[in-house]
């Protein structure tokens, strides 16, 4: 239990606070509209559908304010930098930004559903009231009209017998914007389902820009000022509607529209997000030149780029845009170079349309030619920056997920650091190791020369082995260097036994705080997270494992 608190406590706390605010807003505004005397007459017409519509509206205001913030990457990077004082637990929360964005989106969807259903009932009952189906009081209330001479205002937005609910909705600002933004929301949600997002990122990305329509409509949604509030002595006057205006105690009630508030909630984040996009555009205009282009086996492309004024930290990522391939698409790639170098590099694997086209373009380049024009946004920080904060680190990279750790290993080599690092690289195919074979060979030599053997332990795992590998290994088992990588450290076959690994780390590093970093598949993340919780101990004399995962 206490181990769970170490690894997940702050996230759980933030969720509880967020949910608490949601519940508070809902209940507060529900009671405000359910019991507030100024809405008595509206409640005559609508019953409890009024508070049921207004309460989710308040929750929606709050969540629409929040939803833009987790995707302001530059803001988050800034916050990360300024939290250096506040410890790594705080900074870990900023890694879960996408999860929070999705959570807030689900809440928006849920509240939209409640709000819409309540308003469906409202519109229907307004119409029925007008047509006298509910009795004299509602009918009289409905008859009150906007009239300068009589000095009255209307309560029921339905003003004529021929208005149907559908017609009403499509001829008022609130109704029309409501339908449009709900439609935008539905399209955004269906195209961001995991299946679509992982397979056709472009569809997700372009459809998600409907959020512009969503926010525009949201701001104008309250502009019609439908909800109204009157001031006269309700309990006495409501039984004699026919006497209103005729007796002094019951003047004809005056109604005024509720001032639209949504813009106050969302204007801040909208401006921040606009600044984000502007910053991205400015960075897009800055020139980037190629220092070296290397095509590696397994369809991996290495680009070494130079951009004036560009500074990075270990394990950060950048967004690349190639106008020749697509004007609007920005794709994230972790940097594989160390900050100590005068260039930055990325290793790009051929996964989809964009990456395939890029590789094809580069393959057709003349020898030594400059690559296609590239724009770079970033750098943005992720968990790997924290590696040096831990006394001991376990770095696990699966396949191309090794990229952030390549940057770290190089940086260690430049910094001549004394931290203890355990590096695990899991790979399916043998020739995939070649990407970093030269890096690993240099590191191996360096660690031997400097006697740093205790500080860097690395293990490579070939998870996709078959009989031919076994044959080959059997024949060459007594060779000094590994047959696959040419390194002194032999490659392991199959997946790592994490219990054994964690046990080894724990034994070699008692009373240490160990940071575990993973860049790889979700299944492995779950596994490692469980192991971190299992092998951690609250006792300060024993080892504690913290888990960090990259997510894209």
């Amino acid at each position: 239990m206490s181990n769970w608190i170490i690894n997940h406590g702050l996230s759980a706390f933030i969720l509880v606070v967020w949910m608490g605010i949601n519940i508070f807003l809902f209940v507060y505004y529900y009671l405000f509209y359910d019991q507030g005397p100024q809405f008595e007459y509206t409640r005559e017409l609508l019953g409890s559908a009024l508070p049921w519509a207004r309460a989710p509206a308040a929750v929606l205001n709050f969540n629409c304010m929040l939803i833009l913030l987790p995707v302001c990457r530059n803001l988050l990077s800034l916050l990360r930098g300024s939290f250096i004082c506040c410890g790594r637990t705080m900074r870990k929360q900023l890694d879960k930004n996408l999860t929070f964005h999705k959570l807030v989106a689900y809440m928006i969807a849920l509240m939209t559903a409640v709000h819409t259903v309540a308003h469906l009932l409202n519109v229907e009952w307004y119409t029925n009231s007008f047509q006298g189906r509910y009795g004299p009081l509602p009918e009289n209330l409905s008859m009150l009209d906007d009239s300068r001479e009589l000095n009255t205002t209307y309560l029921n937005p339905i003003r004529s017998n021929s208005t149907t609910p559908t017609l009403f909705v499509f001829t008022t600002i609130a109704g029309l914007t409501g339908v449009v933004i709900t439609l935008a929301l539905i399209l955004m949600i269906t195209s961001s389902m995991e299946v679509i997002r992982r397979s056709y990122f472009e569809v997700f990305w372009y459809t998600h820009h409907l959020f512009i329509i969503f926010f525009a409509g949201l701001v104008f949604h309250g502009a019609g000022q439908q909800v109204t509030d009157p001031p006269h002595n309700n309990s006495f006057c409501e039984d004699q509607p026919e006497n209103w205006g005729k007796i002094p105690e019951c003047p004809i009630p005056q109604f005024a529209g509720g001032f639209p508030q949504t813009w106050m909630w969302v204007i801040g984040p909208m401006i921040i997000y606009l600044c984000e996009r502007l910053l991205r555009f400015i960075r897009y205009m800055q020139p980037v030149s190629y220092r070296k282009i290397v095509i590696r086996p397994s369809k991996v492309l290495e680009l070494q780029l130079v951009k004036p004024g560009f500074k990075m930290e270990v394990g950060q990522y950048v967004f690349l845009n190639c106008p020749a391939i697509s004007q609007l698409e920005w794709h994230p790639f972790t940097m594989t170079s160390a900050p100590e170098e005068d260039f930055f590099s990325v290793h790009i694997r051929s996964v989809g349309d964009w990456t395939e086209k890029l590789i094809k373009m580069v393959e057709n380049l003349p020898e030594g030619g400059q690559g296609p024009k590239m724009a770079v946004d970033g750098p943005f920080g992720t968990a790997s920056e924290d590696v040096f904060d831990y006394e001991v680190s376990m770095l696990v990279g699966a396949g191309i997920g090794v990229t952030p750790f390549a940057s770290i290993l190089k940086s260690i080599w430049y910094k001549k650091l004394g931290a203890t690092i355990y590096f695990y690289w899991l790979c399916r195919e043998t020739y995939a190791f070649e990407w970093f074979a030269d890096l690993l060979q240099v590191l191996e030599k360096e660690t031997e020369e400097r006697g740093m053997r205790d500080f860097l332990t690395y293990k490579l795992y070939l998870t996709g082995w078959d009989q031919s590998h076994v044959n080959h290994a059997m024949v060459h088992f007594d060779k000094d260097t590994d047959i696959i990588t040419g390194l002194k450290q032999k490659t392991h076959y199959g997946r790592p036994n994490w219990d054994k690994e964690f046990e080894q780390v724990r034994q070699e590093n008692p009373s240490s705080v160990v940071g575990t970093f993973l860049c790889g598949p979700q299944a492995l993340a779950k596994d490692l997270e469980k192991k971190c919780v299992k092998y951690s101990d609250v006792d300060p004399r024993k080892t504690k494992f913290y888990f960090n995962k990259e997510n894209f």
């Binding site: 559903a113 469906l120 339908v179 539905i186 397979s199 349309d353």
Partner: protein
């Protein structure tokens, strides 16, 4: 990642539309709105669309991810053969089903969403896509590995019976040693 298969998005959209259509219908019927008959239709159409769209199609390229428990739905939908296989028919079906929803406010949203799903299906059909059931693969019998040969079909060759039994006085000529003594029988 690969070239887009529009049907995948159309499927998500149609499923969501079915749910919204049905929910709008339920609200319309429960609130006894004017035009509740359209709401009834909305419920029926929404549920039908959900059942039709629940089983995902097999993807042209790449791994298909099934929805939980979709196998029985797959079998039902597959039974209709070309009616469910062809996306033009599906687009037309969704277009006709969505029209009655437009007559009543509660189902209007479902109507529009289903209409959009119909358009995406039309796009999918124009691109030549069709619905393919995801059926469980029959696993090929486990291959032990190339170097392990088939177990031998015949027993190992044995010397003729006369030599097989060790004669006590002719140990050297015996074909093999018996671990236990055997009665020599002639």
């Amino acid at each position: 990642m690969g070239k887009i298969e529009w049907a995948m998005w159309a499927n998500e959209q149609a499923l969501a539309a079915g749910l919204i259509y049905a929910t709008g219908g339920i609200v319309g019927v429960a609130g006894q709105f004017r035009g509740w008959q359209f709401a009834c239709f909305g419920i029926a159409a929404g549920v039908f669309v959900c059942l039709l769209e629940y089983p995902r199609s097999k993807r042209g390229k790449g791994t298909s991810v099934e929805r939980t428990g979709q196998y029985c739905f797959t079998v039902c939908v597959k039974a209709f053969g070309p009616l469910t296989r062809n996306y033009y028919i599906r687009a037309f079906l969704h277009a006709t089903l969505c029209v009655p929803g437009g007559f009543m406010l509660a189902t209007v949203l479902g109507c529009v969403c289903l209409g959009i799903a119909s358009l995406i299906y039309l796009t999918a059909a124009i691109h030549g896509e069709h619905w393919e059931p995801i059926l469980p693969r029959r696993e090929p019998p486990k291959r032990v590995g190339d170097s392990i040969k088939e177990p031998p079909q015949n027993p190992p060759p044995r010397p003729p019976p006369e030599l097989r039994r060790k004669k006590a006085d002719k140990l050297e000529a015996a074909a093999y040693d018996n671990p236990m003594s055997v009665t020599v029988s002639e």
